[in-house]
Amino acid sequence: MSGLLDAPLAGQKRALRWGMVCAGGAALAAIGLLGVAGCFLVGAGVAGLAGPLAVAGFNYLLPSAAIRAAAITRTAGRYGERMLGHRAALFALAELRAQLFARVAQGALNGRDPGRSGAMAARFGRDVDLLEDAAIRRVARVGGWTGGLAGLAMVGLLGWGAAMVMALGMAAMRLVSHWLAARLPALQAQAGPAADIAVYDLAPQLAAALESSDMARAEHALARAEAVITASQTILASVIVALIAWSAQGGAPMLALGLLAAMAALEIWAGLAAHDARAPQVRQAEARLQAMESAQTPHPPALTSNPALHIAGRDFAPGARILLSGPSGIGKTRLLETLAGLREDAPQVLRVDGIDPRTLGLAGLRGTFAVMTQDAPLIAGSLADNLALARPGIDRAAMERALWVACAQDIVPLDQWLGGDGARLSGGQRRRVALARALLAGRPWLLLDEPSEGLDRETEALLCQRLKQWLDQTGTGLVLVSHRPAMAQLAAETVNSAFRPDAANRQ
C-alpha cells in the first residue's frame, strides 16, 4: 500500500521476512492449541464413556505434547512477530525521515519554500509515525491470513456447509470493517495544525486556537469508529461460530476441534480490522509526505572556478574587493543575498560569470560564494559542528586559524555546545563564528553583511587587519556591506546600492 515505505523497508528485508514467519507460526500455533485441546478433550470423554479398553487404547501422549509445543510456539511466535515487525518498521521510518529531509533540502535548493518549520516538524514526526502502522501491518497481515486460512481448513473437516459458513463469515467481517472505516467523517484532515501554532506561541489568539476542539472531535470520532469496528468483529465472530456448530457434520471430537479452531482463527482474523480505522489517516499522511517530493534539479550551468562579477553596471575581476554602500533600508542586504542566490528580489542588473544569478539559483551559486548574512544563523551543536558545516574534511587546526582571523579564537572551546541557534553567544560573537565559517568554505568570493557589528573599536580594527591579510594570502574576492568606516577600508571599490533604473536601461 505504501509506496513511500518500499525503499526504506527493502533495507529491513531480513527482519521483515522473519517477522512474517513468526506471525504465521504464532497464528498456526494459536489455532492448533485450542483445536488440539478440544479434540483431545472430546476424544478423552468419548473414550472414558466407552470403557477401560478404549481408555487403554487412547493415545494421550501425542496430543498433550502437541498442546505444550503449541503453547510455547505461540508465545515465541508472538514475541518474534512484534519485535521483528517493529524493528523493521522503526528503522525504516528513521531512514524515511532522513530521506524526507534530503527531499526538503533538494526542494529548497530548487527554490521551493520549505514552509514553516512547525508544519514541517509535524510532517517528520506525526505523519511519519502514522506510516508505522502501514509497515507493521505488512507483518500482521501475514499472521491474519495464515490464521484465517488455517481456521478455514480446520472447519473444512466439518463438511462443505460449515466451510462455506466460515468463508462467507470471514468475508463479511472484512466487508463490515471496511464499510465502517469508510464512514468515518472527513474531519481528520484538520488534525495536526497545532505544531505550527506552538512554534509561534505568544499571542493570545494563537493560544485560543490551540484549544480548538476540532482535533479532539476528530480523535473522538476515530476512537468511536475503532470501538464500533472491534465490537462488530466480535459479534460477527460469535455468530459465525454458532452457525458453524449448526451446520457442521461429523463426530463430537471433530466438532470440538473445528469449533475451537474457528474461535481462535476468527480472533486472529479480527485483528486485521484493527488497522482499518486508521487507514484513511495513514493515506492522508502519506499523501502529505508524497507532496514533499520535488522535481529533479535541472543541472545548473557550470561556472568557472573563479568567476568575474557584474554588479549594477560595473564589472569586477576575480579577487576584487567591493563595498556596497548606501543608507539603511536602501537594499544592500537584498543585493548581497540576491547575488548569493538566497533570494531573487534585487532590482539591479547582476551577472556572475556573465549569467544572471537569479537563473542560476542557490544550487549554481553556492560553489562560488561563501556568505555571512546579518542574522548569522547557527545550528544547534558545538562550535566545531558549526564550523564543519562549511565544507567536508576541515581539521581542527584550520578551524583554529579561521577563528583567529575572525577574532573569535577566545569565545569558547571548539567542543562547547552552543545551544539552539547559538543561544549562548552574544550578537557580536555569533557574527564572528559565522564569519569564521564563511572563511573556511574556501569559495572564490566572500560575501559579508555587517561583519563587525557588535564589536568594540579595538576588536574591529584587529579584525580588519587580519581579514585584509587573509584576503591577500588567499586572493579571495570580497563583497562587503558595512556601515562602519573602519571595515569599509577593506574594499578597494564602492558600488552605490541605490537602484537607478537608468543604469539598468543602459544594459
Binding site: 528513521a94 534530503a102 518549520s117 514541517m120 537594499g331 542574522d375 552574544s426 576588536t459
Partner: protein
Amino acid sequence: MRGRLVGEDMHLAIEAPVATRGYVARYLPLRLASGVSPLLVMLAAWPASHVAAAIMLATLAPFILGMVLAGTAAARRAQAQHQALARLSGLFIDRLRALPTILAFGAEERMTRHLGISARDAAQRTLSVLAVAFASGAILEFFAALSVALVAVYCGFSLLGLLPFPAPERLDLGRAFFVLALAPEFYLGLRRLAAAYHEKQTGEAALAAMDEALGVLPPLLPAIAPPRQWTGCGVVLTHREGARIGPLDWDWRGPGLHVVTGPTGSGKSSLLLALIGQVAVSEGQILADDGTFLPGSANPFIGWAGQAVALLPGTLRGNLAMGKADDGAMLAILNRMGLGAMLAARGGLDMVIDHRGSGLSGGERRRIGLARAILSGRSILLLDEPTADLDPATAETIRILLAEIAQSRMVIAATHDADLIAQAATQCPIDREIAR
C-alpha cells in the same frame, strides 16, 4: 541562554500530551477491566469444575510477578525514549530553520546523514521500550497458553479416569468443554492490558516530563510599582553553563538615559536579561526604590527591544500593537525612524510579515523592535544595541529620539555606540577581564 532547543519544548507541548492519550483512554480502563474479568471468568468456571478454576487462578500469580519485574525495568527506558524523541524533534526543527545556511554551504548531505544517525538512535530507544512491553506480553501469552493447556490436560485425564490422584470431582463432557472454552477468556483482559503496556510506559514518561516542566515554572511575582530608582551593588550574574559576569554596580534614576557598556561578549545583554528574570543573579543585590528587587517583577512596566527581534507571522500592525498604540502613533514613530519609504512601498501597517521575516533587513527589524518597545508606552525601556546595523545618519535620528524619550522614561541601553554613550546620564561598564 537556554540549554534546550525550541523543538524540544515544542515536542513537550504538543507530543507529550498526545502520548498520554493511549495511557488514559486505553490502559487505565483496561487495568480496571483486567482486575475484574479474570475473577468473573473464574466464578463462571467454578460451578463446572473447581479444579479448573483453581488452575486458572494459580497461573495468575507468577504472571503478576513477571509483570512487576518488567515494569521496573521499563520506566527508565521509557524516559530515555522520551528524551531521544524530543531531541530528534528538536534537531529536525533546528536543521529546517537553518536550511538556507546548510544549502549555501552545500552541507545538506552531511546533515541528512547526521539526522539519519539521530533518527536511528531514537528508533533503537523506542525498540528497547517495546522489547520490555513485548516481553511482558510474551510472559502473559505463555501463562495464558499454559492455563489453557493445563485445563485441557486436567479435563482430558479426568474424563479418561487416568488422573494420578484421586478425582476431586466428577466431570462430564459438557462441563469439561465449558471450562476449556472459558480458559482463553480468563486471560483475555490481561492480554489486552499487555497490548496497551507500552502506552502505559510512554504515557507515564510523558507525564513525568510534563510534571518536571511545570515544576520549574517561575513563581508568579507580585507586581511592584515601576521603580524610579534602580540600583545594583556588587551584582554577579551566572549563566546556566557556569560563566560569571560581574561584580557590577549601577545607579539608575529615572527618567533618563543610562547605558551598559563593554567589549563584545562581555555580558551587556546578560545584564538586561537578568533584569527581566532570564539570567540568574548569584551574588550582590538589586534595589528598586530602596526595596529589594526581585528580577522579573517589573516586567509589566518594561518595553523590551532585544538583539533578535521576534516578529510573529501576521501584519506589521499586529506586531507593533503588542502595546496599545493606534495607527497614527505607529506611523508617526516609524516615519521618524526613517522607515516611511519602506512602509509606503510595502503596504503600510498592513504589510504582511511571513514566517521568514518578509526579507526585512537587519536595520529594519531592529527599528521595528525599537518602535514596538516605545509604542508600548511602558515607563522603562530595556534596549539592546538600539543603533546597531544602521547607517550614521539613521543612527543619529535614533539617538535624538532616544534622548527625547529619556526625558519622560527610564531608558537603559546596552551599546558600543560612542555617541550614544556620550549622551547618557550614567554608564555601567562591564569589563572583559571581570567577565572572564
